[in-house]
Symmetry: D2
Subunit: 285 residues, 4 copies
């Protein structure tokens, strides 16, 4: 498939929204040449944000990950995660009490920041009525940090005993772990549980436009900006590109991640999800 140079496109925009995995980094580390990309953006005064379906770590830790690899331009306030939307929800709708969660202790950061008590499902005792009574909400945060055999069943029976709102802080059903291998993401586990309990969960993350709206609000605090001055860059048609299109942004599909160069044309054709541009990667080399 014929691609265009990212360098030539990006200069026409005031702000760039980047997906993280498959665009800026992969299982081996940083995508080649992205240090130069951020130099170039800084030089031209183009603003940028990272929009990631990730609730496993706080924005601080996510930014630190780039910093350790030598990219100092990506600071905490540049990183916007689906976990932050879950946190905003908890703040506005739950207000007080205990929030039960599936995930690592690290991921529970998003609940704590909302000013709420956290309870990992592993410590929940369903036979203690008081435990069940205290829980105001359940959040699916991360696929790690709990025993799937025990804790998934515990979650199901918690939801059968008490009616509460349920939040899924990452819509992805899987994520890449090596060049060849993937793993079930917490969104995949949440889909299975939703099917079994028959209730309706609240999901945060691309392609939902709330993620893009959240980024736009941040970007507008830096400068006056319209949607047609923003470029969304991603490697996945089903999340980054359709979401960006729906929100009214111009979109770039990069071929450095999920969508392989040999399949790109066929995938665009078969899904009907059409990016404004296709680039090999974000390298400006």
């Amino acid at each position: 498939m014929k691609t265009v140079e990212f360098k030539k496109i990006v200069k026409n925009y005031k702000t760039v929204f980047f997906d993280a995995f498959g665009v800026l980094k992969n299982h081996k580390g940083l995508i080649n040449g992205i240090d130069k990309t951020f130099e170039y953006l800084n030089e031209l005064g183009i603003d940028y944000y990272i929009l990631t379906n990730d609730a496993s770590r706080s924005p601080e830790e996510l930014a630190l990950g780039y910093h350790r690899k030598g990219i100092t331009s990506i600071t905490t306030e540049k990183v916007l995660s689906s976990g932050m939307l879950a946190m905003e929800y908890l703040k506005s709708k739950i207000k007080s009490g205990t929030v039960a969660y599936l995930g690592t202790e690290q991921s529970a950061h998003y609940i704590e920041t909302a000013g709420l008590q956290t309870m990992p499902i592993s410590t929940l005792n369903l036979d203690q009525q008081e435990h069940v009574d205290n829980i105001k909400c359940l959040v699916f945060l991360d696929d790690e940090g709990f025993d799937w055999n025990h804790d998934i069943n515990k979650v199901i029976n918690l939801l059968r005993r008490k009616n509460m709102s349920v939040v899924v802080a990452n819509t992805d059903i899987n994520y890449p772990v090596t060049r060849k291998d993937i793993a079930v993401a917490i969104g995949g586990i949440a889909d299975m549980v939703e099917d079994i309990v028959g209730k309706r969960f609240i999901r945060f993350g691309k392609p939902d436009v709330q993620m893009f709206m959240f980024a736009l609000e941040k970007a507008q605090k830096v400068q006056q900006i319209n949607r047609d001055e923003i470029l969304m860059v991603g490697d996945t048609l089903y999340t980054d590109i359709i979401g960006g299109n729906k929100f009214g942004l111009d979109t770039v599909l990069v071929l450095s991640g999920n969508t392989l160069p040999e399949n790109a044309k066929m995938k665009i054709r078969s899904t009907g999800i059409i990016p404004t541009y296709v680039c090999d990667s974000v390298a400006v080399g």
Copy 2:
């Protein structure tokens, strides 16, 4: 199910978002007593907007519908329809050319307002390559105004011949027509077509948060307002209530429409969609 008085609740908010059908009107006309409701809101200086999954008519015509029934408070700028979001999408992403549509001539208003040429599917000739080449986008607007036997198949074969983005301007799969009867809504037809062509369509309408965001932007032009100062009122858990909750609003389920008094408790329990309040209706008695 125990309900609370709408009058006592609404006074604690600066702005109200109302669903239309089942809340303000039904198949017989206006819901009893809503003239007094708007008087009350005006008296207290509470702002309000109508959020409707309806792309069959323009906001002007929708407002005129209330006007004719004696409610003069609902002016054009108070009415926000899913069709307006589709129009915004067309404006920002399509820019020029012809947009094909399924719906009435009236509903095509949303395409015209975006400054684009319209082509009803009925006049499309798939064998004229020029016809097919000119079409930049397809929009599902309304279930009326076309011959389902012919035009649904024509739409399917158009999408097989040319890759284009497809917009569904109303996510509902059915709508009430009398006390007992319902009809297939354009969203239901779009679901069938999407299944058959295997592509991914772009949908506008509640429960998607874009609808709420659109209303918030309007409301913020009138006065400085936060999400916790807005009340969303609807008769349907799956659209009005879950959408309002997700967006961080307080929500009222009214029992004057889709959700019957005898089922409300069971439906809240089985779906896990929990409104902040339940009221019999929006009448302020």
Copy 3:
């Protein structure tokens, strides 16, 4: 993709089950060379049956279609349609009364053969309680013979007024009409209605094993035969091949219909539906 000669494979079996469309015929008429195929099968004493997801016409008419094109080997008793399974269901479960249907008058043959009264949905008057009371069952037979705009909505409201079992006599959601074009099949319309009314319909047709069981019973009346002596031949992985595999038959995917030579390998890989053999067509050249 490397293919093998159908002639060399088929001789190892006692009985062959053929799909019709894409295997024996297409939009232009008979697949090239199938007259010789049936001569060859007759010569070798190999028995054969046509298994088709088609309830639009009776087995007599379906057989006559081949006869008119010069294939006299395909007699009425060789043709097994999903409509016949629907008829068996009606015979055993409905026994008496009126059966409402969507489809052509021709397709209503299957209801009449079950000894039941037929009522096309077009003549149903929902306001006559007696009409509604008489109906014992609803059958989706064919996409032709009725006005979609009116009659689909009538079906939905019939099912809301009276609880009855609903039969879908063809599971396919679309079918080919020319080299390029397809049309919505009655199974696609049934899916939309099922979604809207929220009830569970009973479907007949491949890949459901009932179709294969029905054919096996017929074949065993001719000769003693085991499943491993039967070859299922089809052009569609999702119906013919997965169904045949599940029933324990050896399967041949032919590339003369739905599955194109250039996509076959990728489709087998991506679906995990693996035919025993792949042949260009059933021609024995």
Copy 4:
């Protein structure tokens, strides 16, 4: 809901098919009075079979479970499990080599009986090409006997590396474990994996008619029998009743399990799955 006496109904049939859980036993042990039921059936010379979506144990062990509780009428040959259909599939389609599985060692009985090598996913090393090469098929047998965190991801990556047919030996997505609690069944895990890998699995178990056909074949070896002489008894509309209806059997819904007396009428109404009879339980008291 008005119910009829099982005793009065069952005497009109030659053979009875019973679901196990919720009909003959529950989490506490046997359903009250079923010893008398089997005495009654034996007295009248009515034949019976247990049809169960269970691949966790062999028919011998399942029968032994009843024997230990004092019901000696249920012998091994009376018990038909979805695992046996999976075994038949493996026998006819796989023939030789290694079959990988998720489940307990006990459940692997079904693979061994098919004359095949078994490999629990826990012992699979994806990095040993030889391991991957040897595997001919994957079977989902039971939710116990493996580490969900590790082994579900291993299964996903196995299916990405090698194309093979995948069998799900139990279609249920959950099962009851106490009066209040349920657990994820292996069918639920299989659904999640199928979603993630995008392939099509082969499922065995009610409501699929293959289960009923399998039982009919057994029953016909004992005596000449037609479908209208068989009564299917179950506690679940979605599996026992719709499956039995589709196969042309008369059906009894019992209210001693999944379907509670207070919900039965509403559930029949909302699903459109209509049993021939409703009984409190199979007790003939």
